[in-house]
């Protein structure tokens, strides 16, 4: 994406694309959202014992402007959901989202009025991590799955090909048509 707009889809652009995706997947910069206890495991995941820098993701950015992987780690209440969504919106494309832990993925044991029953109700999530909290190795596995997705050029947040982008535009137009 990006290059195809200028040069069109061809063997050259797809080759360059796969090279870019290879660069991308080995330098995913996470935006940590340690909203509750899963955050501790996320910190362990960055520390030398589990050492996420083996995967090139040790650069935790505390600004959405510089990151391309959102790790939502913890129970997301309705109050926090607007914040999560806003931070997600403020990240530059292409971006990927990990829902870490039972609460984030499904609401977990908090089946209450205040907790969102899974962040996929308001965000496109790429990988869910099971556990309460998940072990750091589990999060590493999620990161590896994200890396696979990046290499394949897939993202639930960003249309990665020209065709996908065209489809998104059509859908948007359809929605606007319905609203009008």
């Amino acid at each position: 994406m990006g290059l195809e707009h200028a040069l069109g889809e061809s063997a050259i652009t797809t080759t360059i694309d796969s090279a870019i995706n290879w660069c991308r997947k080995n330098s995913l910069w996470p935006m940590p959202l340690g909203i509750s206890c899963c955050g501790i495991e996320m910190m362990a995941f960055a520390m030398p014992r589990f050492d996420v820098s083996r995967f090139g993701s040790e650069v935790f950015r505390f600004s959405p402007r510089q990151s391309d992987l959102l790790i939502v780690a913890g129970t997301t209440t309705y109050k926090m959901a607007t914040v999560v969504r806003k931070i997600y919106e403020q990240m530059p494309d292409p971006k990927w989202v990990i829902a870490m832990g039972a609460c984030t993925s499904s609401g977990g044991m908090y089946r209450t009025y205040s907790v969102v029953q899974g962040i996929d109700q308001f965000l496109p999530v790429d990988v869910y991590v099971a556990g309460c909290p998940p072990r750091p190795d589990n999060l590493l596995h999620a990161l590896m799955m994200i890396q696979d997705k990046v290499q394949r050029g897939e993202s639930r947040s960003t249309p990665m090909t020209v065709a996908a982008e065209r489809l998104e535009k059509q859908q948007l137009l359809q929605i606007q048509g319905v609203n009008n």
């Binding site: 870019i20 914040v83 999560v84 931070i87 919106e89 292409p94």
Partner: protein, 117 residues
Amino acid sequence: MQNYIPIFVMLGVGVLMGFVFLILHKLLGPSRPNPEKLSTYESGMPPVRTARERFSVKYYMVAVLFILFDIEVVFLYPWAVNFRELGLFGFIEMVLFITILFVGYIYVLKKGALQWD
């Protein structure tokens, strides 16, 4: 001048690399701006008021205190180390310096900056 050529070359290459990365980013990077994405980052909160705001200069009190109790010691220490070599001249200079700062101390005291509650 001959010795500086490598430095100029390095500066040139540095500037060139900056432009190369800017152009590469324009070429390869996707750009999908929308109003929400371009909004101010306030840890996910909607920003309140503008950033170009006038704010109170109460903070200058802290600056005065900092000079009084911190910078003074920074200057006193090397003087104390070389006290014997500097002799009477140094001593008088330091007394003058402390006198000037003492005026500031009285000012701060009168302003009530040392009353913490």
